[in-house]
């Protein structure tokens, strides 16, 4: 381990339920950050998760090896399933950004977390200050491509645009490198649709 | 001992294969293990295996002590585990002839799991299981092959557990050569060992040995001579079948090669399966 700096550190979590491709998403994300020159630490929940169970993939990134490789205060959170919300919302640091599938926050395109109704989510204990929620039709987009399973890739694209902390090129390259080769075209389409989804909703920190 | 490798002495003297300075060996009067030792070494000689190419792995118990007497690469390992050490050794060094010497307790009880899986894998190892029906080294406790009703220190009122047949287990588990011999039929035992070592695959050889001092005495089985002769009459060569009304079958053992199959040897199968990954195959 080099000298402790943790410069440019960010903590990202992709969360949802089993079968949503979060672990792959985490790997793609870590890869994209690596390609952009960052040092990453990527971890995930390890319990055997069947479809429907809680699942997460965390990425910690910094300019050099992060002191601590596990997330403690999330900068970015992707929510694909309401089941994942409770465990992660409490970790959100101030001014964190949440990307949720539109099915979770019906009727809202985006807004403050406090204003967003997330079915089945109790927000009582969460300090919701300055947390932005972007609700985007990740699944719907994936369905348009005929492959709901690429919602995770769409999400990565959207997150790339929303976060603005790593390059779109790196993300596209990471998708191609990490996702199964035989569906490269599909994944590329997915990530590109995702990149375009926020339509100028990029939030600068 | 520098005349080690291929030049074998023209006239066979077992002492060329022994660590003679350790003799007389520690085994009891009339212990059949010594006969098995001779058969093993004679087989090795007959096969022209040099002492340097030979590795003998043994476990714990009276049988385990045999390895030390053999002038070869010898490994006296933990209880029940000689097959595991041997598997590693053979996989690491396919050029070696690896022979495991084990006992009924070592092989079938504490090492039973290793036995069945070694049989299943079919690695080119010869396993010589010396079955004297008792834990001799620890003072004569009941073993998985102790006959029902026999007295041991832990069955003072007679053994109530049934014993099992190692050869059937080995066959069922997939050993590609399974055989049994009694010490009285030493030349046949030697031949069986020759066959097992030559056989490309896992060769399981059960040797019906005798424990005169600790087991025989307690069960009034007579002198060592009488014990090995009883084994002889307790065996059932295929040839006996039907010839007579089976008048003399207390043990009902069959001897010789009991089963054989030409299953692919483990290392060969491994190499075949992993061929595509191997560097030399890719060039």
């Amino acid at each position: 381990m080099g000298a402790s700096a943790d410069r440019g550190m960010m903590e990202i979590r992709l969360s949802g339920s089993g079968g949503q491709g979060l672990v792959l998403g985490g790997r793609i994300l870590a890869r994209a950050l690596l390609l952009d020159g960052l040092c990453v630490a990527q971890s995930q929940s390890y319990e055997p998760t069947s479809r429907g169970g809680l699942c997460r993939a965390d990425v910690v990134a910094a300019e050099s090896t992060p002191d601590h490789p596990l997330v403690g205060e999330l900068d970015l959170l992707v929510l694909l399933d309401p089941i994942a919300a409770a465990a992660s919302l409490e970790l959100l640091r101030d001014e964190a950004l949440v990307l949720a599938d539109s099915s979770l926050a019906d009727g809202f395109s985006d807004g403050e977390l406090a204003d967003v109704y997330l079915p089945g989510v109790e927000l009582a204990d969460v300090d919701l200050a300055d947390i932005k929620v972007h609700s985007l039709p990740l699944y719907q987009t994936a369905k348009r491509l005929g492959a709901p399973r690429v919602a995770n890739i769409v999400a990565l694209g959207a997150l790339t645009t929303l976060a603005g902390r790593w390059s779109q090129e790196a993300m596209e390259a990471a998708v191609l490198e990490e996702a199964p080769r035989r569906s490269s075209d599909l994944n590329l389409q997915a990530v590109r649709l995702g990149l375009a989804l926020p339509e100028g909703q990029r939030v600068a920190r | 001992m520098t005349d080690s490798d291929s030049s074998l002495p023209a006239s066979f003297d077992i002492r060329d294969y022994l660590r003679t300075d350790l003799f007389p060996h520690f085994m009891c009067v009339g212990c059949g293990h010594g006969i098995a030792l001779r058969c093993l070494l004679t087989a090795v000689h007959e096969l022209g295996i040099s002492k340097d190419e030979l590795a003998v792995v043994s476990g714990i118990g009276c049988s385990g002590r045999i390895a030390a007497y053999i002038d070869a690469n010898t490994l006296h390992v933990t209880h029940g585990r000689p097959l595991t050490f041997a598997s590693g050794l053979k996989l690491a060094r396919p050029d070696l002839t690896v022979v495991v010497v084990t006992g009924d307790g070592d092989c079938l009880s504490i090492g039973g799991n290793h036995l069945i899986h070694a049989c299943r894998r079919n690695l080119d190892i010869t396993c010589l299981m010396l079955n004297n029906e008792v834990y001799g080294m620890t003072g004569g406790q009941v073993s998985p092959t102790t006959d029902e009703g026999r007295y041991t220190t832990t069955t003072p009122l007679g053994n109530h557990e049934p014993s099992f047949d190692a050869c059937s287990i080995a066959t069922a588990a997939g050993a590609s050569l399974v055989g049994r011999e009694i010490t009285f039929q030493a030349p046949a035992l030697k031949n069986l060992i020759v066959e097992a070592i030559s056989h490309p695959g896992f060769g399981f050889v059960e040797v019906i040995s005798d424990c005169t001092e600790i087991y025989g005495r307690r069960n009034d089985l007579g002198s060592s001579t009488e014990m090995i002769l009883s084994q002889k009459s307790g065996m059932r060569p295929e040839s006996y079948g039907g010839a007579l009304d089976q008048p003399f079958r207390p043990g009902n053992w069959q001897t010789g090669v009991l089963s054989r199959s030409d299953r692919e040897e483990y290392a060969a199968a491994y190499r075949r399966r992993t061929r595509s990954a191997r560097p030399e195959e890719q060039t």
Partner: protein, 385 residues
């Protein structure tokens, strides 16, 4: 899966993968193991990778068989390893004892999980620290390494094999589940500084060869089957000739050499890291994933003006006692965060040069200790000053 080529030398690797790569880089050509969470990826990696380097992978019927097999392979002259987790590690203790007694090089990875018994198979824990030290019966030399990052896993695998080979002793690598399943960016090219070492191989006169002869470094040369030495190896207490003996003088002599060989080679064995230890009030001693949290905590503490320092043993056993005594003697307090009920703590209480406070920070709930927890503790300890 990390690609080996597309991004140069920098790549994201999972700890378990790095472990396998490190092993292969260290020259390991034989792996035997039994699947157990959270170590299984190591086996999977070895299964895929060993054939490529003409090595052999075998999945054994259990952990007992696994350690037996690697010891057999090692006797055959091949660098060998196995990987397991707590329950399997328990099963391997007899074989470890044998390896110590017979002085057979081998590397055992213990990816620690919650215990006791089946415990929490997927949750991190540091509960095997003492098992690594005392798990097998009798007195025996023990080397255990505790890497704290994926990159270090790779590096320490190289060291583990080198130590094992040169000192003819089993080396245990204790990996936290959190690191085993963590993907980190590492640069393999910069992680390859260690030259590979191999065991001292017997040469010279066959006739007078003593497999356990006394040597200056306490490590006898090892014969390889086929080289003509035809020695005997046994788990029984043996003399210099390798044959069993119970002669008290011989036993004493040979056991002394066995137990003394680590001391004689402490320079290459000892390995630790210190951070901010020049003027320490609170000395944090931590290893593995906990040390990563401690590191951030210490950095944060320093940012807040608290004089905290970190001693991070990489070679956990033998523990860097001398350095610890030095640091502890100048610190007010020693803080030992561990993901167990306080195993290393007991050892350090014994080592502490003064009866000053040795404070435990333990977590036994299957969660990692967070930087914040340690920082709070440091703050609290300062507040008490």
């Amino acid at each position: 899966m990390a690609s080996d080529s597309s991004s140069g030398e920098r790549q994201n690797l999972q700890g378990n993968v790095a472990c396998a790569l490190g092993a292969i880089a260290a020259g390991c050509r034989f792996y035997a193991g039994y699947p157990i969470t959270p170590s299984s990826e190591i086996a999977e990696q070895m299964a895929a990778r060993l054939p490529k380097v003409d090595g052999v992978f075998v999945q054994m019927e259990d952990e007992i068989a696994s350690i037996g097999a690697i010891l057999g392979a090692s006797v055959g002259g091949v660098k060998s390893m196995t990987a397991t987790s707590g329950p399997g590690f328990s099963l391997m203790q007899e074989g470890l004892g044998y390896a110590s007694q017979a002085e057979i090089p081998c590397v055992i990875i213990d990816v620690m999980r919650g215990g006791p018994s089946t415990g929490m198979p997927t949750r991190p824990s540091q509960g095997d620290v003492m098992q690594a030290r005392w798990g097998s019966h009798g007195d025996r030399p023990v080397i255990a390494l505790a890497p704290a990052s994926v990159g270090e896993v790779f590096e320490q695998m190289l060291r583990a094999f080198n130590l094992s080979e040169t000192l003819r002793t089993p080396v245990v690598v204790l990996i936290d589940e959190a690191i085993a399943h963590l993907s980190e960016t590492i640069d393999l090219s910069s992680s390859m500084p260690t030259p590979l070492a191999s065991r001292k191989v017997a040469t010279g006169d066959v006739a007078g060869f003593l497999p356990y002869a006394a040597t200056d470094d306490g490590v006898p040369a090892m014969q390889c089957p086929g080289d003509g030495y035809r020695s005997h190896m046994t788990g029984l207490t043996h003399g210099e000739d390798g044959f069993p003996t119970q002669d008290p003088a011989t036993v004493e002599r040979v056991m002394r050499q066995l137990l003394g060989k680590l001391d004689r080679n402490m320079e290459q064995i000892e390995c630790f890291e210190t951070l901010e230890c020049d003027d320490v009030d609170v000395l944090v001693v931590a290893y593995g994933i906990t040390a990563r949290a401690a590191r951030r905590a210490v950095v944060s503490a320093r940012e807040r003006g608290l004089r905290a320092g970190l001693l991070r043993p990489i070679t956990l056993w033998p523990f860097p006692e001398r350095r610890f005594r030095e640091l502890a003697s100048s610190a007010n307090t020693v803080l030992i965060p561990e993901m167990n009920a306080g195993q290393l703590c007991v050892e350090l209480e014994r080592l502490c040069p003064h009866p000053g406070p040795v404070v435990r920070l333990n977590r036994i709930d299957g969660e990692c200790i967070s930087p914040r927890q340690i920082l709070e503790q440091i703050e609290k300890l300062h507040a008490h000053d």
